[in-house]
C-alpha cells in the first residue's frame, strides 16, 4: 500500500465532513457576546459534576450582594497540611506531597482488568484500596471500596446508537461486578452517597441557555444493593446544575461549574467580561442564594483564582489554576486560599494543561 492509498484509506475511515457554514458565525457570537464558559473535559471526569453544566442567568446590577467571604490570600507554601494528593498531569498520574510540593509519578498506576464506563485509565486514587481506579470521584461508593460504572449495549455501541444502558456496581477488592439497573435512556452518575446512586439524563447542553431549560428531565436514585430505582423530581437537584441569581449580580458574566465541595454543593467559577478589568468569583451555595465565596476579587489580581478543577476532602478544597500550572491552591473556610508550589512536573504535550489536576482526596 502506498502513501496515496493510505491517505485515501484514512479519509474514508474517518469520513470527510464539511464544516457547516454557520460555524464561523457561531464562533464569532461566542467570542463577542457574554456566554457561559465551558468546563474542561478533565473536570467532567475528575469531579463530581460530570458534564459541563452551564446556565446563563438574566442578572442585573453592578455588584454582588451579601454572603461574602473576603478575597483569598496566598502564601508561598502550605506547611501544616501534610498529605499526598493524587493528581493527573497530562496522561500520567501521581502524587504531590503537600508539605514539600514535590510531585512523584506513580509508576505502578494501572487499571488493567477493571471495568470502566468510557475511559480505561487511572482517574481516581482510592486510599482505602491503595490503587488507582478508572472512575470519577462522583461514582465512588461512600466507603471507597466500590464504584459505579455504565455499560452501553450492545458492546461497542455509543451514546448515539446504544440500545440499553446498564448501571453496574464493581466491588474492587472481591472483583465482584453487580448489574444494578437497566434503562433505555443515556444517563450520567452525579454522586453516590448514603442515599444511593444519583443518576440523570445529561443536561441539555444544546438547549436554550437558562438553568431550568437545561435541567435533565429525568432523575433516579438507585439503591446500590438492590438496584431499585426511584424517580426523582428534577427540581430537587437544581443546585447541581444551576445557581440562584441574586439582585445586584452583574450582567456581563461567564461561568462554569468546576467541582463539588465535601457536602456535594456545586462550586461555580465566574468572571466578568468587561474590558479594562472585571472580576473573578468562585463560590458554592449552601442553599438557594446562600453563597460561600472561595474567591471574590479583581480578575487581574495576582492572587485571583481561575480554577480548572476542584477536589474536596476533609482538609478543604484543592484547585488547579489556569493562571499558574506550577501551583495547587488550597482553600479552607476561615483560612482562605493558600498555595502549594509544585516541583518535579513532567513535560506534557503542547496544548495540554501542564499543571497537576487534583483527582482524589488527599491522604
Amino acid at each position: 500500500m502506498d502513501e496515496t492509498r493510505f491517505r485515501s484509506l484514512m479519509h474514508e475511515a474517518i469520513g470527510d465532513q464539511p464544516m457547516q457554514p454557520w460555524l464561523p458565525a457561531a464562533v464569532r457570537t461566542r467570542l463577542t457576546e457574554p456566554r457561559p464558559r465551558a468546563v474542561p473535559g478533565a473536570l467532567a471526569l475528575l469531579a463530581a459534576v460530570m458534564l459541563t453544566v452551564l446556565v446563563v442567568a438574566a442578572l442585573v446590577g453592578p455588584r454582588l450582594l451579601g454572603h461574602v467571604t473576603p478575597a483569598g490570600t496566598s502564601s508561598p507554601v502550605l506547611a501544616e497540611i501534610d498529605c499526598r494528593l493524587p493528581v493527573a498531569i497530562g496522561s500520567e498520574v501521581g502524587f504531590v506531597d503537600t508539605h514539600t510540593g514535590r510531585y512523584t509519578k506513580d509508576q505502578s498506576a494501572s487499571v488493567a482488568g477493571l471495568p470502566d464506563s468510557f475511559a480505561s485509565r487511572p482517574s481516581y486514587y482510592s486510599a482505602v484500596l491503595k490503587r488507582w481506579l478508572p472512575a470519577s470521584v462522583s461514582s465512588m461508593s461512600p466507603d471507597g471500596r466500590s464504584y459505579a460504572w455504565i455499560r452501553l449495549l450492545p458492546d461497542g455501541s455509543t451514546q448515539a446508537n446504544f440500545k440499553t444502558a446498564e448501571l453496574h456496581r464493581y466491588e474492587v477488592a472481591t472483583g465482584t461486578d453487580q448489574l444494578l439497573w437497566t434503562t433505555t435512556v443515556f444517563f450520567i452518575v452525579w454522586r453516590w452517597d448514603t442515599a444511593g446512586i444519583l443518576v440523570s439524563e445529561p443536561p441539555d447542553l444544546n438547549g436554550p441557555a437558562s438553568g431550568t431549560n437545561r435541567a435533565p428531565a429525568n432523575w433516579w436514585l438507585v439503591d446500590p444493593v438492590t438496584g431499585a430505582a426511584t424517580q426523582q423530581a428534577s427540581s430537587s437537584h437544581a443546585s447541581l446544575y444551576s445557581f440562584t441569581p441574586l439582585a445586584g449580580d452583574p450582567t456581563d458574566i461567564s461561568f462554569s461549574s468546576v467541582g463539588v465541595d465535601a457536602e456535594g454543593h456545586t462550586i461555580w467559577s465566574l468572571f466578568t467580561n468587561g474590558k479594562g478589568g472585571g472580576a473573578n468569583w468562585v463560590f458554592y451555595e449552601t442553599a438557594p442564594g446562600q453563597r460561600v465565596f472561595i474567591y471574590r476579587g479583581p480578575k487581574d489580581d495576582a492572587s485571583a483564582l481561575d480554577p480548572l478543577a476542584a477536589m474536596a476532602d476533609s482538609t478543604g478544597i484543592w484547585f488547579s489554576d489556569y493562571r499558574d500550572p506550577n501551583v495547587i491552591r488550597h482553600w479552607q473556610q476561615g483560612t482562605g486560599l493558600r498555595n502549594v508550589m509544585v516541583t518535579g512536573l513532567p513535560a506534557v504535550d503542547q496544548g495540554t494543561f501542564p499543571g497537576a489536576i487534583p483527582t482524589s482526596p488527599c491522604f
Partner: protein, 177 residues
Amino acid sequence: MIEADAHPALLALDDEVAFANSIEPLLPIAFRLAYGMLRNRDDAEDAVQEAAMKAWRKRATFRPGAEPRPWFLTIVANECKMARRRPGWVLFGQRSPQERESASGIEAGDLERLRWALSRLDRKHQLVLVLRFYLDLSNEEVGRTLGISAATARVRVHRAIQRLRPVIEVPEDLGDG
C-alpha cells in the same frame, strides 16, 4: 486539502471582534481536525467553538510573528482530548452498512481494520496520524502543532504507523515526505 492560513499579522489580539475575524480562516481546518479526532459532527463543532474561546483566553501565549495555525490547532487538539473525556464520547464509532458500501475503491475489509486499529491507538498517536494523513500536514507542520521538531514528528508518525501494522499492512517509509 490545506485551507488558507491566517497571516501572522492578521491575528489580532486586542479585541474579540478582530480576533474572531482573524481566526475565521482557520476554522475549516480546525473543524476537520476536531472531526478527525472526535468523529461526531456535533462534538467537533462544540470543540471548535470551545477552542476559539480558549484561544481568546490564552491569547497571551501566542508569540507575535508566529504562525497562528499551529497555535490554534494545538488548542483545538487539546479541546478534543478534553471532549473525549466526557461521558458518551467514543472515537471512531461504527458506520452504517450503507456508508461502508459507499467507500468507493477501497475494500471494506481495509477500512474496518483501519478503523479498528485507530480506535485502539492512544490519543497521541491518533492525533499525529490525523494531522499527517487526514489533514495532510507536512512533518514540519505536525511538529509545530505538537510543539516538537519535524524530526520528532516524523518519528512519532512512524511509531503510530507501527502500531497500525499488526492490523493493517502499511509500508515502512509512509509519511517520510
